[in-house]
Symmetry: C2
Subunit: 264 residues, 2 copies
């Protein structure tokens, strides 16, 4: 896991990606694209006041806490971005219109309004590329050594978006591969939760980039989990939701065929 | 359901018991012994300041809200006391030492310290007897008409008791009859919850009075559910927990033999 770090060698920049429990022996690999609301000094605060930098537009509150507990519960590696999605969204394609958002929900992002092509490339190189390089490297290493690599992307969503209340406790998003998502949805529904099926958004909204790029391209089983962020504000709630997800993921019984992939 | 009400006829006292959805067609009957922190004027505030009357020693915060949503979800009658347990505890035998508590956790209850035998009898007659008479009447009517009467007692517990943290999300208490409790425990554990089995207390602590008196005596299936009260503070959480319990109770598959009872 040194390649991506070396690309930043000699630069005064805290790495844009963090890898925890890389050697985890479970079936899963967890990614948390929107784990952080850190705004590195070299990009500044983008003209945003503190309250905007702490709001859900800047990150997925609570998601990293759940991801860490889940990583422990299922002994999975955890890869997470350490930079706000408003600097650059690691879960968007490099050519996506909302890769570097000019407006998020109803908030204008002044520091993103007039970027030059060179400035955009700089953010891609500083954050997006090392994040995905770290995922690539970890997956290749695990696949080469026969370890599990079914991918879970963990996110949180705001209970109210553009003034509209969202009813779901948790949303499960999936695209072509449904080996994790369908049994996970059933398990969570059987526990009494209000489960959004490809809600509050779906891969059609362009929000499935990380899993499409790394899991579906390799034939790995994958699913995206979105937890309503007011359910995971505090540490005990994050631990509880990790337990709920670990139990529900246990019901998925993704086998080795899913873990090792079928085609690239 | 008029007998208990008539015993209070002509007296300036809001009924000590409330029955909702009496004709519910589901398998279950729900009781909520500690639903209320109301202190009727005829007994006064027992010398307690407002904060003590709002604390868990006076009632089971959140339990009534969950019980109501659960009553709707499984179409069950709901019977609940409308008077604080500090006036008299409806879930204690009439001869129990803590029927009218002189101290609760670490709080002295001044108004209970020097009661005469006549004053104790008055509270039994005003609250305890009508509460249990209402349960008797509803159960007999349902059994006579072949309706479901598996009993669920819904409570909440304080996360910290006498300075000691309790780890459980939910506790399931049972005594001789285990037809509901054992599958319910398994269902909740399978959902990832930390489930107390006869924790944070058990029938041996004398807290199983309502179910012993009404369900076990009639051979009815029964279980007591204790939810950690910081999980059910707000209405959305109460609704969510009712959904969780309804789903888990759905897994119990208590049959008609349990509903109709085997012996008195």
């Amino acid at each position: 896991l040194e390649a991506w770090a070396q690309t930043r060698a000699g630069r005064p920049f805290t790495p844009a990606v963090s890898v925890e429990n890389a050697g985890g022996e479970g079936r899963f690999v967890i990614v948390c694209d929107h784990a952080s609301n850190r705004f590195p000094a070299e990009f500044g605060f983008l003209g945003l006041p503190p309250e905007a930098r702490e709001a859900h537009i800047a990150w997925d509150p609570g998601a990293l806490g759940v991801a860490r507990y889940l990583s422990g519960a299922v002994d999975a590696p955890l890869i997470h971005a350490t930079v706000s999605r408003l600097v650059i969204d690691c879960n968007r394609a490099p050519d996506a219109a909302d890769l570097i958002a000019v407006t998020s929900e109803t908030t204008a992002i002044p520091g993103n309004a007039q970027l030059t092509a060179a400035q955009r490339r700089e953010r891609v190189a500083a954050v997006h590329e090392p994040y995905h390089a770290a995922i690539d490297e970890l997956l290749e290493e695990r696949l080469a050594t026969g370890r599990g690599a079914a991918m879970i992307a963990l996110h949180s969503f705001t209970p109210v978006y553009c003034g509209k209340e969202r009813p779901w406790d948790v949303g499960i998003l999936f695209s072509q591969d449904r080996r994790i998502a369908l049994p996970l949805i059933e398990a969570l529904k059987a526990c009494g939760f209000n489960v959004g099926v490809n809600q509050p958004y779906s891969p059609a909204d362009g929000v499935y980039y990380t899993l499409s790029r790394h899991a579906e391209s390799r034939g790995l089983a994958c699913a995206m989990i979105e937890i309503r962020n007011d359910l995971i504000r505090q540490d005990p709630e994050q631990r509880r939701w990790a337990g709920i997800l670990a139990a529900a993921l246990g019901a998925t019984e993704v086998g080795s065929e899913a873990l090792e992939g079928s085609a690239a």
